[in-house]
Every structure is written in C-alpha cells, then in structure tokens.
C-alpha cells in the first residue's frame, strides 16, 4: 500500500495536484530541450505558473486550517511542511529567473528538483501532511516563521545555483571540446570502428544534445546568474542563521550550541563564503565557481535532510513516535 498525502482538509491534495502539473511541465521542458518548440516551453511555463498559484492557495488553506485547530503558528514545522515549502521556493526562484534572464533551458532542472522535493513530501512514509492540533512548546514562537522563510529562500537559491551550475558545466565542456576539435582537425586521426558505429546509433541523441547546448544561454550569462543567485542565497542564509541564533538565545539559553544542524549550517555558510572569496582569487576560472555551486548544494542537502535523518539533534523534524523535544 503506497502512502500518499492527499487530503483536501489540510491542503495536501492541492500540493499533490501541483506535483502532477509540475511533472507535465517537466515533460514539456524536456520536449522543448530537444525540439526547440517554443510552444512547449511557453505551455510549460504557464503550467508552472498555475502550479505555483495552486501551491499558494494550498498554503493559505493549510495556514487557515492550523489556526482553526488552534495551533497559532504557520504550518512550517514538520518534514512535509518543509519539503513542500522547498518545492514552492524553487518554483518561485525559477519564475524570477525566467522573467529576468529568460532561462527556458533551466526549466527542466528546476522542475526536476521541485518534483523530487514534492514527490518525497507526498510519498515518503515519514512525511505526513496531517496537521496535529498540538505543537511542542519550543516551536511556539514567532521567530519560527522568519527563521524558516529566510533559510528556505536561501536553500531555494542554492538549488537554482546548482541547476545553473550544471547547465554551465555542460555548456562549458561542450564549447571547450569544440575549440579543441578545431585545433586537432588538421591532424590525421585513426577511426575506431566501434566508436563509429556507436556514433551512428546515437547520432539522433548527439544531435539533440547539441541542440540543447545551442539553446542554453551563453556561459557568461550563466556565470553571472550563478553568482547573483548564490549571493542572494548567502545573504538569506546569513539572515536565517542570525535569526535562529537570536531565537536560540531566547529559548535555549545560548545563541550557539554546536547542535548538528547549527554546525552544518555554518559549514554551508563557509562553503558559499569560499565561493564568494574564490572569485577574487586570480587564476580561478568560472568553471571552478560552477563546481563550487554544484558541491555547495550537496552540502545544503546534507544540512537540510542528512542531519535530520542521520544525526539526531535539537533541530530534528518531528517523526511519528519520536521523543518529544522540549
């Protein structure tokens, strides 16, 4: 029996519908990638806008519901909440990037990350959408809202930087390869028969791949976008950590306790601080920056999910049956 979160009462039904919409737009962006069909990308973007609007509606429903049942704080406390909010922020970021940079080719990566987060939220057995009418005392605080929103804006931005970073690396390798090929054209090369057969079989795919490379923005634009998205995320990560410290000072008796989540958020902060400083180092090209953006997101995932699933601490999401945290 597959567990699925789809209740009209707590709004998770609408998130599940939005998941289906995002899957459709992902397929649309996939088609666009290989066919350059403008209609496919436009339709996909419209569907993404629709999914975003539906999620906004679902959040309103959940928020209202949590107030109706008497836990007067926004629905941003458990794993399900955080995953759907993550998906929401990623869609929001993608919409902004699309409007500012017209990044159609980013669509399939961003919708894919969004699908992963929403899919995980909907089907992972430990993530339940039900809002319980009780809440542990530590979370009864208005710091919660600002702490989580700023951190998730940061997470979303880092996810976007990851997507753009991958796009950059594909594009960068391709342009450099073609430059190299130009240099070696003059020299006579031995033709490997297996390679030749393979290249004939995969010819359509290679053609599509080249098409995709052509479609994506120039590496300069990608590089700038990575930087801008990362610094946006870095700013909000800093704000989120400071708010969290202020809250901890208020609730636990110290602004910093070296709780695993705290420590990993510091490690994330350091990773992106390295990114920002490395840019100023001579001899570090854009390719290295793109790599840091990609690796940085792995650190983000460690902070976001890894710490909860592997190392218990003050920040662990409340799983059913877990010991209550004061």
């Amino acid at each position: 029996m597959i567990h699925m979160n789809a209740s009209i009462l707590d709004g998770s039904f609408y998130f599940t519908i939005s998941l289906l919409m995002i899957i459709v737009s992902f397929i649309g962006y996939f088609i666009y990638m290989f066919t350059t069909n403008k209609l496919a990308s436009t339709a996909s973007f419209v569907i993404v806008l629709g999914a975003f609007a539906l999620q906004t509606f679902a959040f309103i429903i959940r928020w209202r519901y949590s107030y109706q049942i008497g836990i007067y704080i926004p629905p941003l406390i458990d794993l399900y909440d955080s995953l759907v909010f993550f998906a929401y922020v990623i869609l929001f970021g993608f919409i902004l990037l699309k409007l500012f940079y017209n990044f159609n080719s980013l669509g399939f990566i961003m919708t894919f990350i969004s699908i992963c987060a929403l899919g995980f939220a909907t089907f992972y057995p430990l993530s339940t959408s039900a809002i319980e009418p009780y809440i542990i005392p530590a979370l009864r605080s208005y710091w919660l809202l600002y702490h989580i929103i700023s951190l998730f804006l940061a997470y979303g931005a880092f996810a976007a930087a990851f997507g753009i970073g991958i796009l950059f690396l594909i594009k960068y390798n391709q342009t450099h390869k073609s430059n190299k090929n130009k240099d070696t054209k003059q020299t006579i090369r031995k033709i490997n028969p297996i390679k030749k057969i393979a290249s004939i079989i995969f010819y359509p795919f290679i053609l599509l791949y080249k098409q995709f490379i052509l479609l994506s923005p120039s590496i300069d634009i990608l590089d700038e976008a990575i930087y801008k998205v990362v610094v946006f995320g870095f700013l909000f990560l800093s704000i989120g950590i400071v708010i969290g410290a202020a809250w901890a000072d208020n609730a636990w008796g110290g602004y910093w306790s070296w709780d695993p989540k705290e420590t990993w958020s510091l490690i994330t902060w350091i990773t992106y601080a390295v990114f920002i400083h490395a840019r100023l180092t001579k001899g570090w090209n854009e390719k290295k920056m793109a790599w840091i953006a990609v690796i940085g997101f792995i650190v983000v995932i460690c902070t976001y999910l890894g710490v909860d699933l592997l190392i218990p601490g003050l920040h662990s999401y409340i799983a059913p049956g877990a010991a209550p945290v004061l």
């Binding site: 319980e132 009418p133 009780y134 542990i136 005392p137 530590a138 009864r140 605080s141 120039s218 300069d220 634009i221 590089d223 700038e224 930087y227 610094v231 946006f232 870095f234 700013l235 800093s238 704000i239 400071v242 410290a245 202020a246 000072d249 208020n250 609730a251 636990w252 008796g253 110290g254 602004y255 910093w256 070296w258 695993p260 420590t263 990993w264 510091l266 490690i267 350091i270 990773t271 601080a273 390295v274 400083h277 490395a278 100023l280 180092t281 710490v307 190392i311 209550p324 004061l326």
Partner: protein, 487 residues
C-alpha cells in the same frame, strides 16, 4: 620579513584554506558526539580508540586549541587584509584615479573598449555622451571640455583635480574628457562586512571568556544557589538563590505536552526579589543572569501517601485525618493514642495479594501481625475506584492514597555577556553583504581627440565594471547603439 608576513596573512588563498579547515573540523564534531561522559565514550569506541580520540581533542573539539587557533587566524587575516585594502578603497572613493590610459592598462581583462569616428565637434559629442550614459551612470564625476580646460563639472571636482595626488590624472587636463563613476562608495562594503564578522567573533570570544552556561535541577519547594557548568559539571555559585515554588506540565488532550511551566522566586540576602513563571521561549532575566526552562522530571518515587483516619472521632472533627508521606521502613507517629506505624512491602507477596502492609508500633515494639490492606470498591463522581485500606482495632484506618513523586524542573542558568556585540556585528555583516552584493561599481571614460587627418574626431569609450557581469556588457551594448545613432 614583515611585508612577507603581511602578504601571507592578507592572501585570499590563506582565508580559503582556513575556511576549509574550520569546516572540516566542524564536520568531525558532528560525526563524533560531543560532551558525552567518558564512560559513554568507552562503551561506544572502546578503550584504545577513546584514548586516541581524547588525545586528538575530538571529544570536545569546539573547545580544542586548534579550533580556537583557526578562528583566531581567521580573525587575523580579516583584520590584516582589510587594513591593507582600506586606504586604496578610500582613495578610490574620495580621489579616484581618473586616468583613461591607466584604467585601460589595468583593467584590460574586464574592460570594454570601443573607438568611434565622428565629424561632430568634441563639445557636441561630449554632450551626447553625457546624456546617453548619464541615464545609467548618473552625473559625470569629471568633465573637461575644450583645450583651455575651463569647463569642469563643479567646483569641488576642480579643486579635487588640482589637488589630486594622482600624477596620471593631470594628463586628462588637455583635450575633451568625461569620467563617470557609479556606486564607488559601495566598494567599502566588503571591508565593513569583514568588520561585522570581526565584531561577531570578538563578541563570541568575550562571551566565552566572561559568561557561562550552566544547569541545575530544582525540586518543587527547594531553594538552590548553585548550578553546574554544561561543559564540565563544575559548580557555579549564583549571586542569588532560586526557589522553585511550583512546576506543572500542561498537556494536550492526546497527552502530548503543551507547556512546561515553572514558578520561580528569586531571593537575595533573605529578601524575596521577584516571583515569575518561566516556560520554553519565555525565560527570566535578573541581574544579568537568565534562567530558561530546559527539562523536567521526577525523582524515583520513594514514599507512599498514607491517609490516617481516627475512627473514634466524629466526622465533624477536623483532626480526624492526617496525610503522611511514608518512606518504606520508616516509623511515623499517627498522633492517635500514641500509636506509631511504618509502611512496608512484602518480600514475597502471595498471588493476588496487595504487596504492602502496615506495621503498628506501640512503645517501640511491633504489635500483632502486619495489617494487610483490603480492596474496597469506592464510588466517586468520576466512577468506581478501588480503595485500599487497613484497619487497626476499630480505632485507626490507614488508606493508601497513591505514591508520592517529587517533581523537579531542569533549568538552564546562563550568564550571557556581550551578546549585544554579537547582534550588532550580525546587523553590520548583513547590511554590508547586501550592499557589497547588489551594488556593482561601474566606471566609464569618454575621451575625444582629433584624428590625424583633423577632419574627424576619434572617440574612445572605456567602461569598467568592478564585477565582471554579462549584463553590464549587454547594457553597454544597448547604450552604444543609442550613442552611435546620435553621432
């Protein structure tokens, strides 16, 4: 030697290496549980591994000398590199180097350099340029028009130009020339961001040196004046006494805790200063010391609640009953006919037998056989409940009224010194980050010189962004299109 050290400490590569090392050490701290007891570590890792980890400082890594040392080195690099850059940045804001040739030479890797030819007069060209580029770059910082150098944008610049220490700037004084500089003031924001980080770290260090974090468990009704440090359990003498008047856990209907509330009284020199309830997220601060609700619990129950009834007296008499908290084996006075009693457990209770009994003591001697409790149905408003009672000679009845548990409240007592410094540093850092990320300094030079044939004028346009952004170049392309049309 000194300059070598200076160069070493202000290099970004050192900063990056320090960042990576701090991150690596932090990861170790999350993999190995910090602050457990030695016994726990020995169980988890075994004796040998424990000693290795202990020797490496991995068990209390955030207090280890190398972690503190790395943080100190980071502060040092921040101070030195900021101090090195500051004069240059201030000069760039107050008295920028406006030399065209110098900028072209220095920024060749990110500058956009364009030359055009036009038959229009230098005066017209500069006016067009001022209009076109002014839209994005604001008012020109410097404008020199005509050979006799009599037109300078405003008085201040004229003065600045004359007093400028830049030898290169003087070359601009001949010919026709425009210089724009936008957002140059924000070049200082990275320095301020580092200042913020230094302030935060300074606040943290002060807090570690002067403050403490400690905990203590207070039994309901108890007064304490000591607490124990979180890191090593050493006792701390508090400047006042804390009495726990009451402790309650409020529950939701499903039994999940809703709130943990302790009512505390602060007593200083036998004078009650204040009484306040604390709960999670709502601590109490007095005299620079903050008390937080941290945990709760109860001690292992060690007493039974025994209700002693005098059956000879009428109900109207209020002295006919007494509640005694009876620790098993101890002797208590019933205050009825000089009879004493003790509450005891059977060592080997029979099946279905109530496992405790009362021994009656008269003149220090146990009288008769143990009084066995009997179970009676007892009707209350809430329903039927069993009542355990034992009777002695129709004079005294002992009713077992449950087990007495002593609750305690675990509180964290913290002396947070200089947290304000940390918050001020954080605010400085965040504002400075905002300005350094989102305000890119952009400079633009326009120089008009007569061509060799003297019929047309050569226009050179040099634009330099501080950060190399594709959007800057595309903006310049758009502006150039407009500019080309005009000339």
């Amino acid at each position: 030697m000194l300059s070598k050290l200076n160069k070493f400490f202000s290099s970004i590569k050192l900063a990056i290496i320090l960042f990576i090392l701090i991150a690596a050490v932090s990861i170790i701290g999350t993999v190995i549980d910090q602050g457990d007891t030695i016994a726990q570590y020995k169980i988890i890792y075994g004796n040998t591994v424990f000693h290795i980890l202990y020797w490496l400082g991995f068990l209390n890594i955030y207090d280890s000398w190398y972690f503190v040392g790395l943080a100190a080195l980071l502060i040092l690099t921040m101070i030195i590199s900021s101090a090195n850059k500051l004069p240059k940045i201030i000069k760039n804001i107050v008295d920028p180097n406006t030399s065209f040739d110098y900028a072209l030479k220095k920024n060749s890797y990110k500058a956009k350099y364009i030359t055009l030819q036009s038959s229009k007069s230098p005066y017209e060209i500069l006016n067009f340029a001022e209009k076109t580029f002014g839209k994005k770059f604001g008012k020109p910082v410097l404008k020199i028009s005509g050979k006799d150098n009599n037109y300078i944008n405003d008085g201040k610049n004229e003065k600045a130009q004359k007093t400028s220490s830049n030898a290169d700037n003087k070359e601009n004084n001949s010919g026709n020339f425009l210089f724009f500089s936008k957002n140059s003031i924000f070049r200082i924001s990275p320095i301020i961001a580092h200042l913020g980080a230094i302030v935060i770290l300074a606040g943290v260090l002060l807090g570690v040196a002067l403050g403490y974090r400690s905990y203590t468990n207070i039994k309901v009704g108890q007064t304490v004046q000591h607490s124990y440090l979180l890191k090593n359990n050493h006792p701390v003498l508090l400047p006042f006494k804390i009495k726990l008047d009451n402790y309650v856990t409020k529950y939701y209907k499903n039994g999940m805790p809703k709130a943990y509330i302790s009512t505390l009284t602060i007593i200083k020199k036998h004078i009650t200063i204040l009484t306040k309830s604390i709960r999670v997220n709502h601590p109490l601060t007095y005299d620079g010391i903050t008390i937080y609700q941290a945990s709760y619990g109860h001690y292992k129950p060690n007493a039974a609640q025994i209700l002693v009834l005098n059956l000879n007296l009428k109900n109207s008499n209020k002295n006919n009953k007494r509640l005694v908290y009876a620790v098993p084996g101890k002797i208590y006075n019933s205050k009825i006919n000089n009879i004493k009693f003790s509450f005891n457990f059977f060592k080997h209770p029979a099946k279905d037998q109530i496992p405790f009994y009362i021994s009656v003591i008269k003149n220090d001697k146990t009288v008769g056989s143990p009084l066995v409790f009997q179970e009676l149905p007892y009707r209350t408003k809430k329903g039927n409940m069993p009542l355990f009672f034992a009777k002695y000679n129709n004079n005294i009845a002992f009713i077992f009224a449950g087990i007495k548990t002593y609750y305690y409240s675990g509180v964290e007592i913290t002396k947070n010194v200089d947290t304000d410094i940390v918050w001020i540093g954080s605010a400085i850092l965040i504002f400075a980050l905002f300005f350094s990320f989102f305000f890119n300094q952009q400079s633009l030079w326009v120089r008009v010189t007569p061509s060799e044939n003297e019929k047309t004028n050569k226009i050179e346009i040099l634009s330099v962004p501080h950060k190399k952004f594709a959007s800057f170049y595309s903006m310049m392309d758009r502006l150039m299109e407009i500019f080309k049309k005009q000339i």
